[in-house]
């Protein structure tokens, strides 16, 4: 879908003030990232039409959902919602829940069919069950399926994983990435987990104290040395590219020619377009391409910038041949020894990568 989502709203609730005037493209996954209580959920409620804030303006592509004269109620916006806590209708079975929105969608507007959604989310064995018999993760999958089956124009996910334990999160994450790539529905994902952003998002809307501070592509958002998207493991980069089929050693090739990575794709990944995460501290720098070394992944990169980090560390922001950013963490001393300068071409030695999508 082309076009933009445009939201403008002002709201004061006690000490909290929301002041938003923003827009982002309706394509792929947009993460709404910020701490708890920064107004993410309120913004999402305004977009979905659950909250009618005076004076707010909401435009979805060429449709006006709210302005001074227009108010489109939630049920006519065709926005799918998945909440943090399970929100299945308890008096209906799994099938009843799945079909609730589907039945209310005019046949001409139905873009996703039941079988496809059931298969995408692995719901085959759950259909006849009552809602009370489902685990937390299963409930969220059904909620996702229910939202999808209403063929929404926009899917809003309000921290759908936050209430789940780590194990269940890991179990649902693949479904979410699949959804992000295959459903063709633009998504807004509210989260405060950097990991979810790195795996799922195409762009990030940073929100702080009721104000949107930045709207960035994922790569740009992660290129900043102080990016809030870095978790406890420190700075990292997300690389996107095509993955080849594994060779006889079980290794697959990733990325464009001349800047290829060899990665061990343990699971037989179906998709070829993938996302890798590289921790900056797992990358070293060499001035020449070292030949006799256990690290097999050597990429030619160009240094863009050197940033001092607290704790006597130095972050190199470098560009791969295809323009993607790779962050490298070294000590200032080694940078001095190698005489590293912006514009210089060096070899990035990558010790390990994680396949995140």
């Amino acid at each position: 879908m082309n076009g933009q989502l445009h939201v403008q709203a002002q709201l004061r609730l006690g000490d909290f003030k929301l002041q938003v005037d923003t827009h982002w493209p309706l394509q792929g996954v947009t993460a709404l990232f910020g701490r708890s209580g920064c107004g993410k959920t309120t913004l999402l409620r305004i977009i979905s039409g659950l909250e009618k804030v005076k004076g707010a303006q909401v435009h979805f592509a060429d449709q006006c959902w709210q302005s001074d004269k227009v108010w489109v109620p939630a049920e006519q916006r065709r926005v799918g919602l998945v909440f943090q806590e399970p929100s299945l209708l308890p008096h209906l079975s799994v099938t009843g829940n799945l079909l609730y929105g589907y039945k209310r969608t005019p046949p001409a507007l139905r873009r996703l069919q039941i079988d496809a959604v059931v298969a995408m989310l692995g719901l085959e064995t759950l259909l006849e069950r009552g809602v009370a018999q489902l685990s937390g993760g299963q409930r969220q999958r059904v909620a996702l399926g229910r939202a999808l089956l209403s063929s929404p124009q926009l899917l809003l996910l309000d921290e759908p994983l936050a209430a789940l334990d780590t194990q269940t999160k890991r179990e649902i994450m693949p479904f979410l990435s699949k959804l992000a790539q295959q459903s063709g529905v633009p998504m807004v994902l509210i989260t405060h987990a950097p990991d979810e952003v790195q795996r799922l998002a195409d762009r990030v809307v940073f929100m702080h104290n009721g104000v949107i501070t930045e709207v960035d592509g994922l790569q740009q958002a992660m290129a900043r040395p102080d990016s809030p998207l870095f978790d406890d493991e420190g700075p990292s980069s997300v690389l996107e590219g095509e993955l080849s089929l594994p060779d006889e050693h079980g290794m697959s090739q990733f990325g464009p020619e001349h800047s290829r990575l060899r990665v061990q794709a343990s699971a037989a990944e179906e998709q070829t377009h993938i996302r890798l995460r590289v921790l900056a501290r797992d990358v070293s720098v060499a001035l020449d391409d070292p030949a006799r070394i256990s690290i097999q992944n050597h990429l030619k990169v160009v240094i863009n910038q050197l940033h001092e980090l607290p704790g006597n560390r130095l972050l190199l922001s470098t560009a791969l041949r295809d323009g993607q950013t790779l962050l490298i963490e070294i000590t200032p001393w080694s940078a001095q020894q190698l005489g590293l300068q912006p514009g210089q071409q060096v070899y990035a030695l990558i010790k390990s990568v994680a396949l995140i999508r």
């Binding site: 049920e75 926005v79 909440f83 929100s87 209708l89 008096h91 609730y100 229910r146 939202a147």
Partner: protein, 228 residues
Amino acid sequence: MFGLGPADWQAIHVTLKLCFFTTVILLLIATPLAWWLSRGRSAWRVAVQAIVALPLVLPPTVLGFYLLVMLGPRGPVGSTLESIGLNHLAFSFEGILLASVLYSMPFAVQPLLESFNNLGRRPVEVAASLGAGVIDRFFTVVLPLCKGGFVVAATLSFAHTVGEFGIILMLGGSIPGETKVLSVLIYDHAEAMNYAAAHRLSLILLVFSFLVLFVVYGINRRFQVVKI
């Protein structure tokens, strides 16, 4: 049957008719009212909630007196009705029906309010996001999830109307076939020293009331309004 005379049966008929219409009207009024009350905590809502609860604390004679003044031939409502060619409402079935509706209002609003509060906003919001309009949401989400509240509201309204006395006597008097309900008839029987007749009707009301409360409490326990 039960040794009841025609006057008794007539009173039973009036009572049941009154209770039935009161319950139907109350459900129609109390449902949107309780829904509105459950949606927020503004000063307006608190005021309305207090007004709805007034019959719980006021002597029925106070309410009956005001209604008599308002609805009688010289009252603002009664005289308006007469000026457009209708009858005033004092000493009529319509009058005691109106009084019953007001008097039993808290018994319909409270259980509904409680079950709407328990329901929370989420199920309704979910239904809206899935394309269900207001009426659709009411019948497919609110009604099935709050059915316990509706059953309790209906039963209590019905039962409480059976037990009305003072307000009906004030506003309706004791006109056989029109405003003479069971409670008034029992009073009449007792006044006339006809204790046997008073006994029969009193026992019927006692057993009926017990059964109603038994059912209500049973339902209350069974239908814990499901919160999601």
